[in-house]
């Protein structure tokens, strides 16, 4: 009973607040199904690391400094970027670049929809963050959790917790954020634009050569992006080569599942009350929203710009699918197109732009890192 009272009395208001945030993440993961694979382990982790004297994180217990198991995992898997990179193998194995290769023009929308990253960097600088912190905050706009973790860990590791929470939360909120942003910058007539789709099969050879081409191009233009691009494309290569189906299946399932468990729990090391409950955290979460909105706006406006010069008009909503949140963004765009006109099918174009966004976001992360090396 005495130790129970001691335990309760050792908890401060901040730690209780963080436990409430942990409970909120768990609620969002279970009830709303917002990225549950990451938010639930992070929620549990946030509760665990805010219980005093637990020994889960490195802390002084009875005057002796003890290394916590979560810190050991952090050093093992996040400090050296191992976990995010392993997840990229799985993501690469899950992606079918076919819809993009059928409509290569969609590559450009993946590029345009990274605008939010750089816009947000400027906003963060104006609000007093230094350049490296701002670059890290902007990377939330990559709409890609592992890339955000990777860049954050190199440029501003002290911001890892709030940036990860913001990145995964907004990815889950894409169905809410994107329609509002798209409607703000498009007319009903534009949203009703129909796009003819020519269904062509992409040869196996093309799908095999493509990941190698991406590795070479990204590696020469932005070498710092190669850990991200290389692991992503390695995953895709084992999917497409046709002789490593077992490995591809393991990467898509066991590997991603195992690493997700460890990644979510381990990130919570950065969710202690003293690191998380700061004004900076609120600003970072607000800037994350700015990044997602400006990504969407960037993609849409780029499509509208191209339409000035094109005979066959592009539905500008497709541009918004150029963010990396796959496949949610593509689904949102198709749903919106269908709501405007139930005979409008832009899904394959949106999927093409969406997988292009996967490549563009990791390249963006690499270019940002390149800038500081």
């Amino acid at each position: 009973m005495e130790s129970f009272v001691d335990g309760i009395s050792a908890v401060n208001i901040g730690q209780m607040g963080m436990m409430a945030i942990g409970a909120l993440l768990i609620y969002l993961g279970i009830k709303k199904q917002y990225e549950p694979t990451l938010l639930i382990p992070m929620g549990i982790g946030a509760i665990l690391v805010n219980i005093p004297h637990s020994g889960l994180i490195s802390q002084e217990i009875n005057g002796v400094e003890q290394e916590g198991i979560l810190d050991v995992l952090f050093d093992f898997g996040i400090s050296n970027e191992l976990f995010p990179l392993l997840i990229f193998i799985g993501i690469g194995a899950m992606i079918d670049f076919g819809p993009l290769l059928k409509n290569p023009f969609m590559f450009l929308f993946g590029a345009a929809a990274q605008f939010g990253i750089f816009f947000t960097i400027l906003v963060a600088i104006i609000f007093g963050f230094d350049l490296q912190e701002s670059a890290t905050i902007g990377i939330i706009g990559a709409a890609d959790g592992p890339t955000s973790i990777f860049v954050s860990n190199q440029l501003a590791p002290h911001l890892l917790g709030p940036i990860t929470v913001a990145a995964y939360s907004y990815m889950a909120l894409v169905p809410i954020i994107q329609p509002i942003a798209i409607r703000a910058v498009t007319t009903e007539k534009e949203r009703k634009i129909k796009m003819n789709y020519k269904a062509e099969a992409v040869s196996k050879t093309t799908k095999i050569v493509f990941p190698i081409a991406v590795i070479l191009i990204a590696g020469f233009v932005a070498p710092a992006s190669l850990p991200l691009v290389g692991f992503l494309m390695f995953g895709n290569f084992i999917r497409e080569c046709g002789v490593l189906d077992r490995l591809s299946s393991s990467a898509q399932n066991e590997l991603v599942n195992l690493v997700s468990i460890l990644l979510g729990l381990t990130i919570s090391v950065k969710m202690t009350a003293d690191q998380f409950l700061r004004l900076d955290t609120l600003l970072i979460i607000a800037f994350g929203l700015v990044a997602f909105v400006m990504d969407t706006v960037g993609g849409v406006l780029f499509a509208k710009l191209l339409n000035l010069f094109r005979k066959d008009k592009i539905n500008p909503m497709v541009g918004a699918a150029g963010i990396s949140a796959f496949p949610m963004s593509a689904r949102v765009i198709q749903k919106m197109a269908h709501e405007e006109d139930n005979q409008n099918f832009v899904l394959m174009y949106a999927v093409g732009a969406n997988v292009s966004g996967q490549i563009a976001s990791v390249v963006a992360g690499g270019l940002v890192l390149n800038f500081f090396t």
Partner: protein
């Protein structure tokens, strides 16, 4: 209201220029490579969906 670090802002604008140019460059090259790959290794044509 804001105590803006103009040197950092200038660097941020430079990063924006370098970043967007770099992304468009990489993706444009990939666009061209994809067209070449599709020409070199064509798949079977199906039908138009309107």
């Amino acid at each position: 209201m804001f105590n803006v670090d103009y040197a950092a802002l200038e660097k941020g604008l430079e990063l924006m220029g370098v970043g967007m140019l770099g992304i468009f460059t990489v993706l444009f090259i990939l666009y061209l490579i994809s067209i070449v790959l599709i020409k070199l290794f064509p798949g079977k044509e199906r039908k138009d969906i309107v």
